[in-house]
Symmetry: C2
Subunit: 386 residues, 2 copies
């Protein structure tokens, strides 16, 4: 059992006891963050069921044909699909519980597929959801922190690649559009170069690479390809993922030949907001206070705060990071920070009408008396190369 699997089992055993329940069940495929936390990243593609009994037995019901693959990576009991009735993982989970004469309440995550919960319900179990797993996931083990540090360090290679391309760019014939090695520098060109740098550093861009220029903060899902102009803020916002599924979060904004106006003021605001937010990161601080202090600094510079681009209003300027790109602790929440919480601070100023957006994002782990940045990268607005 790995450290995370042990932490999950302990938290769920406590929840089972506190709720007088008989077992915990979750169903997910290999991309599911909860299942990865419970049973490791190398599970079969198709959905498996994970069970924890009140007596502490950890069981996995993998899909048909995948039992020996599951045994190679899971050290609890693997129940082959051939040895138990049921065509779906939830149905097999219910059959396994019945075989062991388990009766009563079964705890699940809130995200267990409805079909799986129905099988448990029809087999006579009362299904009740628990957030014990989300709370356990928020507190990272030393191994998880090292993984997150390593992903975040790889993310700096992506930012560095973007900064080098921008620092080496010249104005084209129109005097505005940037060119690099005689090619027009577009958001698409920059995104491909950044993603290749992330891949060479051993992490996956994971579809999260946002390269935005000027007022067009278009969604990465659209794969924009707009020419980048001198004087426009260029956002490079990365959340790559490592082989086990852990995410980074690192964002910087650059302007080639800034005129020292709006974008410099906005950059100063988010830089100060970052410092204000980081100063709040310590054990015992309320999570929402981190957001409030970050937001207050942005507002003090005369800007509205937006947690992410194109939203309706104020949102938390940060979030927890781990097997999910965003997870607990939530900076809008009422909880207190604890050692092992890993938090992305994402101060952002956004002017959709004219100037575009400026954002700086970093990842830090909360320690007993402060925080530890998981990777360092300068916050200068003008791109420079050593």
């Amino acid at each position: 059992m790995t450290a995370t699997e042990g932490r999950a089992a302990t938290a769920l055993a406590d929840a089972i006891e506190a709720r007088d329940a008989a077992a915990f069940v979750h169903v997910g495929d290999r991309s599911d963050a909860a299942l990865r936390y419970l049973a490791g990243p190398a599970l079969p593609d198709r959905p498996s069921a994970f069970l924890l009994s009140a007596t502490g037995e950890r069981l996995l019901c993998p899909p048909p044909g995948a039992a020996s693959a599951a045994r190679a990576v899971f050290d609890g009991t693997v129940v082959s699909a051939d040895s138990v009735d049921g065509s779906a993982p939830g149905e097999r989970a219910a059959a396994v519980l019945a075989e062991r004469d388990v009766v009563g309440t079964v705890l699940t995550t809130a995200t267990i597929p409805h079909a799986a919960a129905l099988y448990l319900d029809r087999a006579g179990y009362e299904v009740a959801s628990t957030d014990a797993l989300d709370e356990a996931r928020a507190l990272k083990t030393a191994g998880e922190i090292e993984r997150l540090r390593s992903v975040q360090t790889a993310a700096t290679a992506g930012i560095a690649r973007a900064e080098a391309l921008l620092a080496g760019a010249d104005r084209g014939d129109d005097g505005e559009t940037l060119v690099h090695a005689d090619d027009v520098l577009t958001t698409g060109v920059l995104r491909r170069a950044v993603n290749a740098a992330l891949a060479r550093a051993g992490v996956d861009p994971a579809g999260n690479t946002l390269i935005a220029s000027g007022a067009a903060w278009s969604d990465p899902a659209f794969g924009s390809d707009d020419p980048i102009r001198a004087g426009d803020p260029v956002l490079v916002d990365l959340a790559p993922r490592d082989a086990a599924g852990y995410h980074g979060r690192l964002a910087r904004t650059f302007v080639v030949d800034t005129d020292g106006g709006w974008d410099r003021r906005a950059h100063l605001a988010v830089t100060r907001a970052r410092e204000a937010g980081l100063a709040e990161l310590e054990t015992g601080t309320s999570a929402s206070r981190v957001h409030e202090e970050t937001a207050a600094e942005v507002i003090a510079y005369g800007f509205d705060t937006v947690g992410e681009a194109r939203t309706d209003g104020t949102r938390a300027l940060g979030h927890g990071v781990g097997l999910a790109r965003r997870e607990a602790p939530w900076l809008s929440g009422s909880g207190e920070l604890e050692p092992g919480h890993v938090v992305a601070l994402v101060p952002t100023v956004f002017d959709q009408e004219e100037n575009g957006g400026v954002r700086i994002a970093d990842l830090a782990v909360v320690t007993a008396d402060g925080y530890d940045l998981l990777a360092e990268y300068a916050t200068s607005l003008s791109p420079t190369v050593e």
Copy 2:
């Protein structure tokens, strides 16, 4: 409404009518394939609810603060979280239905989170699941086929990069381990180079890049880094993803300095199996027949068939591909192939004890009178460069 959104709405309207239901509801986040199909790829990170009423109205309930972002990408009705009761997307979906005086049965996907279905159930709706959406997704539109063709073409750049590195490798001092430009060529080095090539070609490796050498077909989730030896089969198995979420599937196996023994026989078997499977791809063929003919050829060469490495027995040697890495049509299923089905054929021979594995995988769309490969790449066992 895009072509896929229209196809989804039509299929679900038919299902609502056939089941005498009142609405369809699904809940998912931006990484959820079903929600991407229903409402596009550029949705907010946090979960949204999608609703289709019996009268044909398409509604989206995005998370708090994300209504204007949702309006920019969704052309149905966007219900702001501020304008409806509920702290969770399922709760807001139930409130929207109640506001519209909808009563009766609500159809959902099987994968809707249990918590969301419970909100509908508690609001008095009978929740019943439908596979109409999965069936609609299996039949690709012309636009989807172009996206898949484009991802699959990008995947050839990944295979080409691996082939070039292997073709340019020499034996090191031990006479076995391959070196390239004085560095030991490991599975990790190859995976990073392949992933960088995929990123430069504009697609995301998506954590699916399996580089395996010899008998150690270790899971990509572990990020193996084993030296590659002359004479060992090297599997390069890719399933990259484009910005909208569509996947490719392309695999080739190379051997540097093959001795012409086991690996050549295995490679001949999977090459012939690929041809046999492709020959079955046409409208009206039963999906399971494609698997059976592919498997029969592998067996005719004296090998056991395995659909994927390290499984307990025979599995379908292929699957549908789209917004999910694997989706309908399932080659184990009883259905018939139809024009627009996109199928990955994945003939594989695997000897876990000694030799390792040999696999070739390609992606094809079923047409009225046959198939169309979505990208071409030679199937030679010995790596060569032009």
